[in-house]
């Protein structure tokens, strides 16, 4: 109930941002596509600049373009992916950060937990440090857009909680991430 309300507030802002961003977003496509999961490169944030917003209570089972667009709306992106050994947020996530910042500033009692993760290579404790750096990068980005410090907690899981198992770059690219988790 609360969640769907949040979504509605958000989408207006997200649409605006996507529209503004359309001019420059294209050139930020990752070169080989290897470092970013495929579904992250096909969302409206990188694409044509067209964002469709779902109607509240739209049929969940629908496979229409409308529902698909909803899944790719910036506010529905809860994961930010990073390049190897990097903690800077790529410009393609500007819309995502903006959408979440908008939600959080509009709902000052809302809290978000930023979970930093790395891929499984390297030493585990140093990876905790890298995961923390990524979570902090997202925290700073949200705070720059007005989110209160008290709304954000960070945790680093390092390489302890991969999203995808496997010893390939395809798996690793999905594990170098910050998961944004709204707290109940």
């Amino acid at each position: 109930m609360k969640r769907s309300m949040t979504k509605v507030i958000l989408l207006a802002g997200a649409m605006m941002l996507a529209a503004c961003h359309g001019k420059t977003a294209v050139k930020e496509q990752p070169a080989a596509g290897a470092t970013v999961p495929a579904n992250e490169t096909s969302g409206p944030a990188n694409g044509s600049g067209t964002t469709m917003s779902p109607l509240p209570g739209a049929a969940a089972g629908s496979v229409s373009a409308l529902a698909e667009a909803a899944n790719n709306a910036p506010i529905d992106t809860r994961t930010i992916y990073f390049d190897f050994d990097k903690s800077d947020i790529k410009p393609q996530y500007d819309d995502v950060i903006a959408a979440h910042a908008k939600t959080l500033t509009a709902n000052p009692t809302l809290k978000i937990k930023l979970e930093g993760n790395t891929d499984e290579r390297g030493t585990r404790e140093y990876n905790i440090g890298l995961g923390e750096r990524r979570a902090q990068a997202v925290r700073r980005a949200l705070m720059l857009q007005g989110v209160a410090d008290s709304q954000i907690t960070t945790v680093s899981y390092g390489s302890e909680r991969p999203a995808v198992e496997g010893d390939t770059e395809a798996a690793w690219s999905k594990n170098r991430r910050v998961d944004m988790v709204y707290q109940p």
Binding site: R121, G122, T123, E125, Y126, I128, V155, Y157, R161, E165
Partner: protein, 440 residues
């Protein structure tokens, strides 16, 4: 001449599972020697005599398994043996000499009571016919495995001059299931992987097990509250205490040599990781590093006066050493390559084991601390991490990956012998080799 010593080989621990009752899915290890040593010492380990109706536990077989696994010995195949002597008087030395066996171990079990065993064993130099060892061990049927490791320790020390570490223990983290439904277990097992006991289990990550100096406690990081905390747990009782749960990061516990303090990694609100010393009795924190980079993975010097640690203050992670107390800047120790992390000090402080990156692959290396001979890469894997010295310094246990799974492996400190310990279930990671226990 007739030197005899009675060693009491009672089971060392009763281990109790941590928070949850653990469904025991014990990993069992299969040893796979991947690179041997051509200078292995030939030794005949004759099956021990067993009284009728006694345990069929193969003491001599386990002694041979231990010695062969060290890479320093090559035990004779039983089918090549020309007899089965059980006492020194029964050994036909000339015959054993023709079989090119440098040493021979003989022994016998007696059962003075229904669940009591006396193991008598003797080690001889085949060439000189000199008796090098003659001991009796008193134990029970549950202690036969430990007694076998103790015999292997004595043989190893008698011939190599280096104290054996077969009767020690390892801790490691085992991960069962697959994301997002993983189970993390902290396991303590014999050094050969046998007798695994789950000492803590959680649906959230467990990491960085560290043995207290006398091996009675283990410190580790647990995410059971969905945030990291450091716990210290007594192995005998299972009793544990949360010793660090500050806001942010609580990681990388390392015991001071006196067992009274932990070096830990904590973060400030901005997420900057630095190393602190936590006094376990008072809870007082003393900050050690002050740098905007990641400072973590501390390890104490034996005198407790300095810490080795990983820092990326100069860019990529490198190993530094900092004196405690006297202030002063940390001294950088590694300069080869762009990634050197997680130092572990050899027991004699002559070298550090660490993780180094070579062409994108992570490998175990040693850094000479005594003679400035630099770094030596010991392994050839792609994902070799978490090195931990055996308490005798002869071997390093580490984590690697094989066929898509996390497994443990061993490399001799001279790099000549490598073995993989294949677990039959789950992922195995973060081995920590425990200290010598008991009679030290």
């Amino acid at each position: 001449m007739n030197k005899r010593l009675l060693l009491l080989a009672a089971p060392l621990w009763i281990l109790i599972a941590g928070i949850t009752a653990a469904p025991p899915a014990w990993p069992e290890f299969l040893v796979q020697i991947t690179r041997g040593q051509d200078t292995a010492i030939p030794i005949a380990i004759v099956p021990f005599a067993v009284p009728p109706g006694a345990s069929t536990f193969d003491v001599a077989g386990l002694v041979g398994h231990d010695l062969d696994g060290s890479g320093r010995f090559k035990s004779m195949d039983r089918k090549d043996m020309i007899g089965q002597p059980h006492t020194g008087a029964e050994i036909a030395f000339d015959d054993w000499r023709r079989l090119n066996s440098d040493y021979i171990l003989v022994g016998r079990l007696a059962r003075p009571a229904p669940n009591a065993y006396d193991i008598v064993y003797e080690l001889y130099n085949v060439l000189t016919r000199q008796r090098l060892l003659g001991y009796q061990i008193h134990t029970d049927s549950a202690g036969l495995r430990l007694a076998s490791h103790q015999i292997a320790d004595m043989v190893y020390q008698s011939i190599t001059g280096i104290r054996g570490a077969f009767a020690t223990h390892i801790a490691y983290v085992s991960v069962l299931g697959h994301v997002p439904h993983r189970t993390y277990q902290l396991v303590v097992a014999d050094a050969d992987g046998a007798n695994p006991h789950v000492v803590m289990q959680s649906s959230q990550p467990l990491m960085s097990p560290a043995w207290s100096p006398h091996g009675r406690r283990i410190a580790y990081v647990s995410f059971e509250d969905h945030l990291p905390s450091i716990y210290v747990q007594y192995l005998k009782t299972g009793a544990r205490r949360r010793v660090s749960a500050t806001a942010g990061v609580n990681q990388a516990p390392a015991w001071s040599p006196d067992g009274k303090r932990l070096a830990v990694t904590l973060s400030d609100r901005a997420g900057n990781l630095d190393i602190y010393i936590l006094d376990l009795a008072t809870g007082a924190l003393t900050r050690v590093t002050h740098d905007p980079g990641i400072d973590t993975e501390a390890q104490w010097s034996n005198d407790g006066r300095s810490l080795y640690f990983t820092s990326d203050r100069d860019g990529g992670p490198q190993i530094f050493q900092k004196s405690l107390g006297a202030g002063g800047r940390p001294r950088r120790l590694t300069f080869d390559g762009s990634y050197n992390a997680r130092p572990r000090l050899s027991p004699d402080e002559s070298q550090l084991a660490l993780v180094t990156r070579e062409h994108g692959d992570y490998r175990i290396a040693t850094l000479d601390l005594k003679h400035g001979a630099g770094m030596r890469v010991l392994t050839k894997g792609r994902f070799d991490v978490s090195p931990s010295f055996a308490p005798n310094g002869a071997e390093i246990i580490y984590a690697t990956r094989s066929a898509g799974r996390g497994v443990l492996a061993l490399v001799s400190t001279d790099g000549r012998v490598q073995q993989t310990l294949m677990s039959t279930v789950g992922e195995v990671q973060e081995p920590a080799w425990g200290p010598f226990q008991g009679n030290d």
